[in-house]
């Protein structure tokens, strides 16, 4: 029992620090017969111990753990040891990097890649991926950009997650927005959106895009989607914050106007979702992670939500776009890692790559064009309905200052939405705060 032995070991170590310190030179990470994989997505190891078949699970933890179990069953020579982290796992990663004991593989949000890659903490993977047979040209365009830093691919992405438009078809039908084949008539552009909004408001009294002010999804991500739809970007050509521009202001003014018109909802996002499943709100902005949850409601006879459809985030601007992000696998062994150790890690990444379809059972979109084109993927619940979402995902800026981006934008946009600041002031304050962060990088 490792733990029971530990206390006397500590006492001995405290007395003989120099001796133990000499022993510390031995690197645990040097073993390639066991891959240390750190991941968020919950702790469920004992729940799925020994399970190697995915069955019909859609649970994020189950899929991750069962894929690792399946690998371990097939590869006794290279076992993967999974360690769960509290999302996003950054505190644990930073401590391990400082101590020189990083894991071989770690889950990381794509927007964090520049922060770590620029410090040499991540291993560039382009050549390793090619050698392992991972074709990065198969990645969707925005996804590939998100995992590339200074021309090098630093991660194997596993999904595109982000904001979608979840629709109660019964209420849309009431508003005359369902065609003969039972599909929703999705409005395209501001005028069509306003017309659809009016129809839904008149028929149901609810907004066409239920949302909330208390969550980043209802503030920063709506604004980011509107900005991207009009070709704007929160980053300038030098990689600095650029959120106080005419395009950014136009996006926020559109957002404010649509809220004032009752087209975009307000209040608490949790209450909005409650109203949606109770059949009181016609459609809402919510994440890819919500698809399976609401599919369960449809299957529950007690739920008012009976006919459910999932579309990409509404196109209100000139082009389709929706806030999105990617979970990725990175190799945090550093820029000059032992090639054999990296190759071992990449073997497992290939396994994850090959099972990308399985991960998309969770509701998230695939990162691979070949998977998106496959009938198996399109047969997964609702995936064919939001097929275009991944290729139009607007990612958070891949910059060093992205760490505080969501929170700052949420706070400033919330102030504008609640009338505490003018739109100009909110964006100007956001710009100043982001520049502050950027100047420290």
């Amino acid at each position: 029992m490792k733990i029971r032995r530990a206390l006397p070991r500590f006492v001995a170590a405290a007395a003989l620090t120099s001796v133990v310190a000499a022993g510390a030179a031995q690197s645990v990470a040097a073993q390639t017969s066991e891959l240390d994989l750190w991941r968020f997505f919950n702790e469920c190891t004992s729940q799925f111990e020994g399970v190697t078949e995915l069955g019909d699970t859609t649970d994020v933890c189950a899929v991750q753990q069962i894929l690792a179990n399946a690998w371990n069953a097939e590869h006794p020579e290279l076992q993967v040891k999974t360690t769960s982290l509290v999302r996003p796992g950054i505190v644990e990663l930073n401590a391990a990097l400082a101590a020189g004991t990083p894991p071989d593989i770690m889950s990381l949000h794509a927007f964090r890649i520049p922060t770590y890659a620029s410090k040499g903490a991540l291993t560039p993977l382009t050549s390793y991926l090619a050698e392992a047979g991972i074709d990065v040209d198969d990645l969707l365009g925005p996804v590939r950009d998100a995992v590339t830093y200074n021309g090098e691919v630093y991660a194997v992405p596993i999904d595109v997650h982000g904001a979608l438009w979840h629709i109660n078809l019964d209420l849309w039908e009431k508003a005359g927005l369902v065609d003969e084949s039972g599909n929703p008539k999705i409005p395209v552009g501001l005028e069509e959106f306003k017309a659809a909004c009016k129809a839904v408001l008149d028929a149901t009294g609810s907004p066409i895009l239920g949302s909330g002010d208390d969550d980043v999804l209802g503030t920063a991500w709506v604004w980011a989607s509107l900005l991207a739809q009009n070709g704007g970007s929160p980053v300038d050509a030098d990689g600095m914050p650029n959120v106080s521009t005419p395009e950014a202001l136009a996006a926020l003014n559109t957002f404010l106007q649509l809220r004032a018109d009752g087209c975009i909802g307000s209040g608490e996002i949790a209450k909005t979702y409650e109203s949606f499943v109770n059949g009181d709100v016609a459609s809402v902005a919510a994440g890819t992670w919500q698809v399976n949850e609401w599919d369960k409601q449809v299957a529950d006879p007690a739920a008012a939500l009976k006919r459910y459809y999932v579309a990409p985030f509404p196109q209100i601007g000139d082009q389709p776009a929706s806030w999105g992000g990617s979970h990725t696998w990175v190799v945090p062994l550093g820029a000059n890692a032992d090639p054999e150790q990296v190759k071992a890690a990449v073997q497992y990444l290939k396994h994850a790559w090959d099972h990308n379809l399985d991960w998309t059972r969770t509701g998230h979109a695939t990162v691979r064009q070949s998977v998106a084109d496959s009938p198996e993927y399109q047969a997964l619940p609702h995936h064919s309905e939001y097929l275009g979402f991944g290729e139009h995902a607007a990612y958070n800026p891949s910059t060093m200052w992205s760490v505080g981006y969501d929170q700052i934008m949420h706070e400033e946009l919330q102030a504008a939405l609640l009338g505490q600041k003018s739109a100009e002031q909110a964006l100007s304050d956001a710009q100043a705060r982001l520049v502050d962060i950027a100047s420290f990088q």
Partner: protein, 297 residues
């Protein structure tokens, strides 16, 4: 408040002919009604979380603020308590909290005895140096402490979870202050009877310090049980996790906060019940301990 408990002579009548006892009863009823309402409001989040822990997730999604767990389910508790690791996390938490409490009391009381009772050169500056530790948040020294334990290969062990706070500036300060108030004549009498310093510490000072020791035991135990940041980074192996971290990971959900609320609330109750029991047992000590640490008499 004093009006409520004021004794009333039932033999005395009132001018309007109504019984004074009845009037007092009405005031008591009002008192309890108001305080009952305030208590209910204060407890509402806890009541809600308890109810949610016994509700089906789909029901919660349809009625977020429901307080009556009907239909009733134990599925969230079955999921948590059915996980083979949870009992181990409880053992880890209990062992770490108990060990740290015991070692901290031992080390700090010995040091406090020295500061309070033994004259030595540089005592005052050294004491001030120790107290400076009170101003240093643990977050500021997290990485150096992490590196130290990494060098010692002690992460994912009880030792790593116990050791960082065994020399507690707060405990040392409280004990030193308390020891200084114990009359020195008691020590001198013991020394005259041939007692050693260690005997004075064991037989004279420590028995008289029971109130402050009890306070420290309670607060150190509770603080260690609820500790988050250090176990989060030090005990990452699933076998080494404490219940606070383990349940956090077990009940963590992907996406935004409105999912899997029942599981999260059940996790909170499973993790919190030992503390609740501890609090109920030591309620008086905790209250007196708060008085002691806050300077109230």
């Amino acid at each position: 408040m004093s009006a409520v408990v004021r004794p009333v002579d039932p033999a005395q009548g009132s001018r309007d002919g109504r019984s004074p006892r009845r009037r007092v009863d009405l005031r008591r009823v009002l008192f309890f009604a108001i305080f009952g309402a305030v208590t209910f409001l204060w407890m509402l989040p806890a009541i809600w979380s308890l109810a949610a822990s016994f509700r089906h997730e789909s029901d919660i999604q349809r009625d977020l603020i429901g307080l009556i767990p009907l239909p009733f389910t134990l599925e969230h508790y079955e999921r948590i308590l059915g996980d083979g690791l949870v009992s181990r996390w409880f053992v880890n938490s209990f062992a770490v909290a108990a060990l740290r409490t015991a070692v901290q009391i031992l080390i700090c009381s010995l040091a406090a005895f020295a500061f309070a009772r033994i004259p030595f050169r540089g005592k005052r500056p050294l004491f001030i140096l120790v107290l400076l530790g009170l101003m240093l948040p643990f977050e500021a020294i997290l990485i150096p402490v992490y590196l130290l334990f990494a060098d010692l290969h002690l992460h994912n062990t009880w030792a790593a979870l116990v050791a960082p706070d065994i020399a507690s500036p707060l405990a040392l300060f409280l004990l030193t202050q308390f020891f200084q108030e114990i009359p020195k004549e008691l020590d001198e009498a013991a020394y005259m009877d041939g007692a050693s310093r260690l005997t004075v510490y064991r037989r004279v000072v420590m028995p008289l310090a029971t109130p402050v020791l009890a306070t420290l035991v309670i607060f150190t135990f509770l603080g260690t049980w609820n500790e988050y940041l250090w176990p989060l980074v030090s005990a990452t192996d699933r076998d080494a996790m404490t219940v606070t971290i383990g349940l956090r990971k077990l009940a963590e959900t992907f996406g935004h906060q409105v999912r899997d609320l029942g599981l999260k609330m059940a996790g909170a109750w499973v993790g919190g019940i030992p503390i609740l029991i501890f609090y109920l047992i030591f309620q008086r000590r905790i209250v007196s301990g708060i008085r002691l640490t806050s300077g109230f008499k």
